[in-house]
Symmetry: C2
Subunit: 235 residues, 2 copies
């Protein structure tokens, strides 16, 4: 069950994998010569909004949520970054503090690249610079989508979109793309969809009654992708 032709999934992914992929060998080596690989346990914070950046992060394995916390302590998950994605570069490039926080969603292994190495390679590599410009510009579209969906669409549709996006994130590169298991807490799901936990639970029950999804414990499988796409009113 592919989304091809029925849902513009590109508009929901940052494509930051492409930044370090097929970077010239030399650039890559210079970039990673002082890098350190760190293990993160589930829930462990990678960087925190408002702090000064000391480098950028490459996700070798695992998943990382990027989020913001409002003045009342409520969390909103902006994005889930997957294996192969680069995170934390906005702060360094803008010369600002981190605009958001990042925490591991599961046991992850992350390469830390010091700011000085990143900036040094950027100084001489037009390829890296172009890749960053391309990714950042693409991100703009993703975020613009997000904003207008949050501003205009009801929770039911936002949740449908969230599930479709998560399904892609949780795809294992195995053959069995039909049975993608979404494994995320209801709290995190609510925090992505911008809704209360209880409301998400109720809407998931509805989706289940409508035979759009199956659930077992916290796990969710989408069993009717095209119908969920139509529920999302997005495509």
């Amino acid at each position: 069950m592919s989304l091809k032709g029925i849902f513009p999934i590109d508009k929901w992914h940052y494509n930051s994998q492409s930044i370090l992929q097929d970077l010239p060998q030399q650039d890559f080596e210079q970039l990673t010569k002082n890098s350190v690989e760190e293990k993160y346990i589930k829930g462990q914070i990678v960087f925190k909004e408002g702090t000064l950046p000391t480098g950028i992060y490459f996700i070798k394995h695992g998943k990382v949520k990027k989020y913001k916390i409002d003045n009342f302590g409520k969390e909103h998950i902006i994005y889930i970054a997957n294996m192969g994605e680069l995170i934390g570069y906005h702060a360094t490039l803008a010369g600002e503090r981190f605009p958001d926080s990042a925490a591991a969603l599961e046991q992850s292994s992350i390469l830390f690249i010091p700011q000085s190495d990143f900036l040094a390679v950027l100084e001489q590599s037009t390829i890296l610079s172009k890749k960053l410009l391309k990714t950042l510009s693409h991100e703009f579209g993703v975020l613009a989508n997000n904003i207008s969906v949050f501003a205009l669409r009801p929770v039911r549709e936002r949740l449908a979109i969230t599930l479709l996006v998560l399904r892609e994130k949780f795809k294992t590169n195995q053959l069995e793309n039909i049975h993608v298991e979404i494994n995320l807490s209801r709290e995190d799901l609510a925090s992505m969809a911008g809704a209360s936990r209880e409301n998400v639970v109720r809407l998931l029950r509805d989706f289940k009654n409508e035979s759009l999804i199956e659930t077992k414990g916290r796990k969710i499988w989408i069993i009717n992708v095209p119908k969920l796409v139509s529920v999302s009113n997005y495509a």
Copy 2:
């Protein structure tokens, strides 16, 4: 009445003015050698979401709204770009179609810079490239803010923030910063705050009753900035 120290207005502006400002003379000339200045009347469309970019746009005078329209025809204004700002570069840099639309909010004069010139200067000017990286990275923070505010905060707070942001946009560089006149249709205001027009009208009446703003016709003046900041629950 300044926002300094009481409201982080930087987190709501793109800062794209800095892209062409203090660009080396030579780069600027090459960039603009084939540029065309066009007049736009109020409401006229500059570019449309989903179309292929043919260049980028520099706002010499006037104001431009950047917006998206959902499947039901409802409009959401993502951003208002002011005199001196550059717009429309994301599509070209990402190699994609326009992620949003742009239309003049008032009589405006806009410089069109052909894509080929933009890309040619980018190819050789590391200064332009760095400025773009900086602006795009800063924009990420602005958009991330936006998303979490739309996802988590109620309309009353979003409207308070919207008014504070608009006040900055409508500042004339005169001395009289106290009496900034916000002149925008209720429809556009609602479309920025992500609310119905009627709800915006009612909330504006509340703000008026609470002596936060004054109105005359469609025009709005914020008369108690610090209190409106506190209503926004954002600072």
